[in-house]
């Protein structure tokens, strides 16, 4: 477990959080290298299916980050995201999937230091949670059968 290096996928909105991550880089703030960034137009673009699919394909943690409420480039995208992702996170918790694997955050374009802090915190949390074994893709029966009977 000590050697566990988690794989974290971050969906960052183009207008704030992606720029915030960029600023963290430009400002030379140090943060753990486990995070892979996917740029999305808005946090409202993040379909909860993305989160399920990301975990299913083997990620250990998923981060969704967008502009602070009131700052959305499209006026209201992050307000929709706030409602939807909140319900979705509770759903994960209800079925017993660890909600610590899924984090939602507000990061503005000027918050490079906060972005580095967020990644440090989230990486530590996911490390503590351990590798994602409870919800990953299984090979279909036939593929499994062929592999076992080669």
């Amino acid at each position: 477990m000590e050697n566990f290096e988690p794989k974290i996928i971050a969906f960052l909105c183009n207008w704030c959080s992606y720029a915030g991550a960029d600023l963290a880089g430009v400002s030379r703030f140090q943060y753990p290298p486990h995070v892979r960034v996917i740029r999305v137009p808005c946090s409202g673009r993040v379909n909860p299916l993305f989160v399920l699919k990301t975990l299913y394909e083997g990620a250990d943690g998923v981060l969704v980050s967008g502009c602070h409420p009131g700052d959305c480039h499209y006026q209201s995208g992050n307000y929709y995201a706030r409602r939807r992702l909140e319900v979705f996170k509770k759903l994960l918790d209800f079925v017993g999937l660890n909600p610590a694997r899924f984090k939602m955050a507000w990061i503005s374009a000027s918050e490079g230091a906060q972005f580095a802090q967020l990644i440090r915190e989230f990486t530590a949390e996911v490390k503590e949670t351990g590798p994602n074994q409870e919800f990953v893709r299984e090979k279909a029966d036939l593929v499994r059968f062929l592999n076992e009977n080669r």
Binding site: P48, L49, L52, K53, Y56, H68, P69, S76, Y79, Y80, R82, R83, R84, E86, V87, F88, K89, K90, L91, L92, D93, F94, V95, G96, L97, N98, P99, K103, M104, A105, W106, I107, E111, Q114, L118, E121, E134, F135, V136, R137, E138, A140, D141, L142
Partner: protein, 322 residues
């Protein structure tokens, strides 16, 4: 409620509103009601309504866009219609609703082997079956579907014509209790429970077909680009299906139980749906399908919505279950 009254009322509605078609039930060869489309006054003589019906008729409404449609509706169906109107799937003026009283619907899975079983009649809280040449009378209460036992809106909320009669009262509250019991389990136990349920699922999508709210013309499960899940019904894939369906229905589901009755494997869909509705109502004070003009809970927002985002107003101290 007498069948004659129902026929007369439906014919009256058909004539007065100059309907193109009428959605209702007619008796199948096994005696259980099956959904039917009636297109003439004469054919409406076969229309019937009793606890042997299973499907939520509002499911068919989006298929008849642009037509003037009549429909018989107990409480749950009328609430589904309200949501379909609110979501722009049908316009109110093209819809004629004949409200019917409802005593709850029979869960056929509780009747065991249905081979050679004929449904005969239902009256005064009892129903009669013919089973292997014998006629048996059974109490309705023991064979009702779970959602009907729990129903708190058995009478129609939206109607143009109403058929008088008594509707089922005293919701059991069982679903709420089950959700509560699940929430009190540890996350590991809950995951085990839902994985067991997902293992039963064969992904026939009967739940989707039976659901009036699943009207999307293309569903994410059939998308090949991107392909969200494998075709084989493996546990993780089934979970993606179940979770996404529940999420799509959060705050839209009227808990008619149409999906649970349609499920051939008896997957516990109702506790997921009941939980989703409960949590949407707690978070956003929202009851689906009671008011025309209301937007779906996840299709709108308020500035003062609870904020659990990192860096937001509230911290993550509050959690749902554990």
């Amino acid at each position: 409620m007498r069948t004659d009254d129902l026929i007369l009322k439906c014919q009256e509605a058909f004539r007065e509103k100059e309907l193109d078609l009428f959605l209702g039930f007619e008796r199948s060869s096994s005696g259980f009601l099956k959904p039917a489309v009636f297109t003439s006054l004469e054919s409406l003589e076969k229309i019937s309504w009793d606890p042997s019906a299973s499907l939520n008729l509002a499911t068919f409404i989006p298929r008849f866009k642009g037509k003037k449609v009549g429909i018989i509706a107990p409480g749950c169906v009328s609430r589904s219609l309200v949501i379909l109107i609110n979501e722009g799937q049908v316009s109110r003026d093209r819809l004629t609703v004949v409200g019917v009283p409802c005593q709850g619907l029979i869960e056929r899975k509780k009747l065991g082997d249905l081979k050679g079983v004929r449904f005969l009649d239902s009256q005064n809280g009892k129903f009669t079956l013919q089973r292997g040449g014998q006629i048996v009378e059974l109490p309705l209460e023991n064979y009702l579907s779970e959602s009907c036992l729990d129903c708190d809106h058995s009478g129609p909320v939206l109607y143009d014509y109403l058929i008088e009669g008594s509707s089922r009262k005293n919701p059991s509250g069982n679903l709420e209790k089950r959700v509560k019991a699940l929430v009190e389990l540890s996350p590991g136990e809950r995951l085990l429970y839902f994985k067991k349920e997902a293992e039963k699922c064969i992904r026939c999508y009967a739940c989707r077909q039976a659901c009036p709210m699943c009207y999307c013309e293309s569903c994410f499960v059939e998308s090949s680009e991107p392909r969200w899940l494998q075709a084989a019904p493996e546990v993780a894939d089934n979970l993606i299906w179940l979770l996404t369906r529940v999420y799509h229905l959060a705050g839209r589901c009227v808990q008619c139980g149409s999906c649970a009755r349609a499920c051939p494997e008896g997957v516990d869909l109702m506790s997921l749906l009941a939980w989703a509705n409960q949590s949407v109502s707690e978070l956003f004070q929202y009851q689906p399908g009671l008011e025309i003009g209301e937007k779906p809970a996840l299709g709108e927002y308020r500035l003062e919505d609870p904020d659990f985002f990192w860096g937001g107003g509230l911290t993550e101290g509050k959690k749902c279950c554990s």
